[in-house]
Symmetry: C2
Subunit: 423 residues, 2 copies
Amino acid sequence: MTGNQHPAGQSVESTEQDVRAKLPRRGLLFGGAAAGLGALAAAGAQLAGAAPQDGTPAAQPADTVHGGGTVPFYGTRQAGITTAAQAHGVFVALDLRPGTTRAGIRALLRLLSDDAANLTAGRPALADSEAELAQVPALLTVTFGFGPGLVAAVDPARSPAWLQPLPAFTVDRLQPGFSDGDLLLQICADDPVTVAHAQRMLLKDSRSFATVRWIQTGFRRSYGSEKPGTTMRNLFGQVDGTTNPAPDSAEHERVVWGGGDIPAWTENGTSVVIRRIAMNLDKWDEVDRVAREESMGRRLSNGAPLTGTQEHDEPDFAAVSKLGFPVISDVSHLRRARPEDGSQRIFRRAYNYDAAPGSGGISDSGLIFVSYQADVERQFIPIQRRLDEMDMLNQWTTPVGSAVFAIPPGCREGGFIGEGLFA
Amino acid sequence: MTGNQHPAGQSVESTEQDVRAKLPRRGLLFGGAAAGLGALAAAGAQLAGAAPQDGTPAAQPADTVHGGGTVPFYGTRQAGITTAAQAHGVFVALDLRPGTTRAGIRALLRLLSDDAANLTAGRPALADSEAELAQVPALLTVTFGFGPGLVAAVDPARSPAWLQPLPAFTVDRLQPGFSDGDLLLQICADDPVTVAHAQRMLLKDSRSFATVRWIQTGFRRSYGSEKPGTTMRNLFGQVDGTTNPAPDSAEHERVVWGGGDIPAWTENGTSVVIRRIAMNLDKWDEVDRVAREESMGRRLSNGAPLTGTQEHDEPDFAAVSKLGFPVISDVSHLRRARPEDGSQRIFRRAYNYDAAPGSGGISDSGLIFVSYQADVERQFIPIQRRLDEMDMLNQWTTPVGSAVFAIPPGCREGGFIGEGLFA
C-alpha cells in the first residue's frame, strides 16, 4: 500500500466520510504503510509531518508538538508491548454478554480492530461522535487480549494450556472487580484525553456484545518530563523494571515472543498477566531508607544493587558485609525475583495507579503490574511462587486483582485481531 | 533573597537535610527569587538549568526535558490560577477534624505551605519518604482555598459575604461526596507522578488535623501534545473556554483579582467555584453534529460562533437565517452564558474527568468546572442563574458536586498561606 490509501476505507460508511471531509486536515495522519514486519513489531513511532500523504518527506520543519505521533496498528505482532511505554494506560476487561455467539464475537473483534486502526492513526473511529478528539493520537496503541471465556466461546480446543486464572497465592486478596475477564482492551497513549476518547469509542462499539467487568487507569512519568529511557519509579519511590530485557534484544524476543508448543493461531502472539498490587504507603512510611533498600536489595537513589553503584550493575549475591551477612539479603525482592533458570523471565510494562481513598484513608495507591511472556506457566508462575513464599516487599504490598489473557498476533489491513482463532 | 538560599531552610529538620544531601543534585532546583509581584502573578515558568544557584544563566544548553520546570510558590498572589493550566490537576477537599483549634489550623497551614514551597521547587517535602519522586516538579503548583468552615473556625467575623455554598439550582443533583469542604488543595502539574506524590505528601502532613472529604482528579491534553495556547476541548468534543479573559489582560486582572469591598486578609486573593459536571455521553451520542452545534452556539470544528469562522470571532446575536430564525439560538449555551453586564465575568480553568463507570455503564465522564472570580455573588451566581433557567446543554449535563472556597493571597518566604487571617 502507499501512504495515501485509506487503510480501512472499505468499512467506513459514507456519512462518516462526510464528517471526516469537514475536519481540518491536521491530525488526519495516514499511518505510513505496511513496512517490514520486524519494524512494525519494534513499533517505531513516526511524527506528524514526517510522513505526509504523498510519502515524501515533509517540506515544513519538524513539528515539536508531539501529539501527532503514531504507532502502526497493522503488523505481524500487536503494538503496545514492545512499544516504549506511553505515559498513560487504561486496561479494560470486558465480559461477553450471555449468549454472544461465535459470529457475534467475530463481528465485535472486526469492529474494534477497525476502530483501533483508525484511532491509532489519528483518524476518527467509525461513527466517531467526538471526531475532533481523535486528532491527537499521541502514540496511541490499542492491544487486545483474549481471556479463557472468549477462547472457549470460539474454539475451546485451541486454548493455550496456560490460559486460565493463576493458581491461588497466599499473599492474594483478590477482588472479582479487578480480576479475570473475557476480552482485554489495553489502551495506551502519551495524552490522557486521547486515552479517554479511545476508551469511549471502543466501549461504545462493544456494548451490544459485552459489558465492562473492570477498568484500571494508570500513569507513568509524562511524555518528555524525564530523559527517554529512564526506568520508571513506582509510588514507593523504587526504580521499577531495571532487569527488563531490552526491546531490541534477542532476550526480549525469546521472553515475549518465544512461542514454543502453542496453537497455531497464537504464533506471533504472547500472554499478559495483569495484577493490581495495592501498595500500603502508610505502612511503608514507617520504614527508613536503609530498611527500604534492604527489602528491595537495591538503592533508592538510582536503583543500583546494594553491591553496585549503577542501576544496571550485576548484583553480587555472594558479597558479605564485615559482619558476615549477605549484602543483598536472601529475602530481598531482588534476590527472590531473580530466576533460578534463564527461562523464568518476563517483560514488564507496569503503570502506577492512585485512586480516591476510602473513608478515613488518605491514599489508595499501587501498581498495575503488567507482564508479558510467551508462556505464563513456564515463565511467570515460578517467579510468583518464589515471591509468594518469601519476599520482604510482601509486608507492604497486596495483590488485589489478577487476570491472564492471550495476546493474539497482529493483523494485516482488512483483517482483524484474532482472526486466526476463527480459521 | 538570592538563588542559593534555602527558602524553607529554617523549618527543615537536620535528619531531612541529611537525606537531601544524599540525593543527586539533579532536580534540586532553587526557585528563582522573589521577583516582581506582577511577574509572580503571571507565573512565568522557569526551566531547569535556566536559573542555577548562582543566578547566572546556565552554561549547559537548555534541557529539552520539561520535567525540571518550576513555578515560584512565594509571591503576592498564589500560583495555579493565572498559571497556564497544566495537564494534570487534582482537587482535594479536607474537613477539619472536630475540635481542631485555631492554633492547629495555623500549624497545618504553615506545614502545608512549607511542603508546597519545597515540592513546587523540585525539592522533597518535609520528611519526604519518597524524596526521589520530588525531583521532577513539571511546573507543579499547589493552591490553597479556605471553605466557610475553616474561616469560621479562625475568625468568623472576617468571612467574605460570598463564602458559602451556592444557592440551590434546579439542575443540581449534588452529592455530599463531591461538595463543600473546609480546606482545598489544588495540585496541578504536567506530570501525573508529580501530582500523585505531592498529593500524598500534603495529605500525610494534613492527617492529624483533617480528613479527606473528596478528591477529584482531572486531566487536559498532555504537555506539548498540542500547540501552546490551544483552547481545551471537553469530552463532548467542544472547544471549552474560548471567552476566558487572557491571563495578561486588564480584564483578567479585574475579573480574578478585582477585590472590591473585601476583608483585608483577602486582598490579592480571589475565590474559586468547583463544580463537578457529569456529562451524559450516551445521551449526547444521540445528537447529530448540527444539533450539537446549535445547542452550543459554536462550531465543533474550531469553536467559532455559528455566525463566524474563527474561534475568537465575536458572536452576532442579531444575525438571522433566511427563514428568519436567529443563527445563534436564544437558548444556546453561548447566548445564555453571555453576561448581561460586563461585571458578570469569570475565569475558567477546567479539567476533564473520566471515572470508572458504575454497573452496566460504559462511562462516568464529565468536567471539573473550576472558575475563579473576585466575587462569587456578583460574578458567578448571575451567570449560573441564567444557565439554570435555560440552557440547551442542560439536557446532557448534570452538576453533581459544588464547592466554594476563598483563595487567600500568596505569602513571602518564611510566611504561610492564610497568615493574614490570623493577624
